[in-house]
């Protein structure tokens, strides 16, 4: 239970960063932290104490019980999607920097057009 709460705290740190920072790179970093907390949460849910990794031996049966493989499959795709969306956000940030000369979202708001 404490692990779930710690994971939620990590998520809250990310939320705090997204809501209070005014720098675009800091916002991207906070979004990444939120993504990490969600990956960790899903991996924590699927864990069974005393179980093995979901990779069987060549005799196709597992002696010990196996960790739930379904959340791991979901997280595996989500990690690569996170990388792609992060790259996309960073390219948008760098184009905004070229246009306005700053990462400050307050200034970008004011300089319309």
């Amino acid at each position: 239970m404490t692990l779930f709460i710690l994971c939620f705290l990590l998520f809250l740190v990310g939320i705090h960063g997204v809501l209070t920072r005014r720098n675009l790179i800091k916002v991207v970093i906070s979004l990444t932290v939120m993504e990490f907390s969600i990956f960790l949460m899903l991996a924590l849910i699927g864990y069974i104490s005393g179980a093995e990794a979901p990779i069987l031996g060549s005799e196709m049966v597992s002696g010990a019980p196996v960790v739930d493989p379904l959340p791991q499959a979901m997280v595996l795709t989500a990690i690569v999607i996170a990388l792609a969306t992060n790259a996309m956000l960073l390219t948008i940030a760098i184009r905004l920097y070229k246009k306005y000369g700053t990462f400050d979202i307050r200034r970008i708001n004011e300089l319309k057009g």
Partner: protein
């Protein structure tokens, strides 16, 4: 086991706070790398080697791209003290956190305790995946057989993101 994970997650929280409050963007990015590599260790402890391999490579590439972006532009954090709507932002943040806490409480009450997860839907996957697909790695078997649609959608998102990056970064039009 649980104590070790708690210590690592505490370090990750501290690193995340450092990353958000750092004065220099380069040190913020390095602190964010600490969070990512801590996540790798957590995955290894949680018996998820597939995720650990993917995360360690993806984190490295993310750091390279972030450092490239920051070194191209400015490294300095802005002066955050000036804000006209500071009171409003704080109030909105508190309301947001309270709503999130309520939903987190409701969500966590339906979960079993850590380490005592019962296989419900994955029971069939664990018993049948190897004999039906012939893949000894159960994660790959699920990814490409039972859950093929999800993976196809993921490939489409990656493709779209690459096209979007090409479109945004093109300065001169192509004849």
């Amino acid at each position: 086991m649980e104590v070790m994970l708690s210590i690592i997650i505490c370090f990750m929280i501290i690193a995340a706070i450092v990353a958000i409050h750092a004065r220099d963007l380069l040190s913020a990015i390095i602190a964010q790398g600490f969070v990512g590599y801590g996540l790798v260790i957590c995955f290894l402890i949680l018996k998820a080697p597939d995720l650990a391999i993917v995360q360690i490579v993806v984190e490295t590439i993310t750091l390279i791209i972030m450092v490239a972006v920051v070194l191209d532009s400015s490294r300095l954090e802005l002066n955050v003290s000036f804000d006209r709507r500071k009171g409003g932002t704080t109030a909105v943040t508190f309301i947001f956190i309270i709503v999130l806490l309520v939903y987190f409480n409701r969500a966590i009450s339906g979960l079993s305790k850590f380490g005592e997860h019962t296989l419900r839907m994955s029971e069939a996957y664990v018993t049948d995946a190897a004999s039906q697909t012939g893949s000894l790695n159960l994660v790959t078997g699920i990814l490409w057989d039972f859950r093929g649609y999800d993976t196809l959608g993921e490939a489409t998102v990656l493709f779209t993101a690459a096209i979007g990056v090409l479109t945004i970064l093109r300065l001169t039009g192509k004849k």
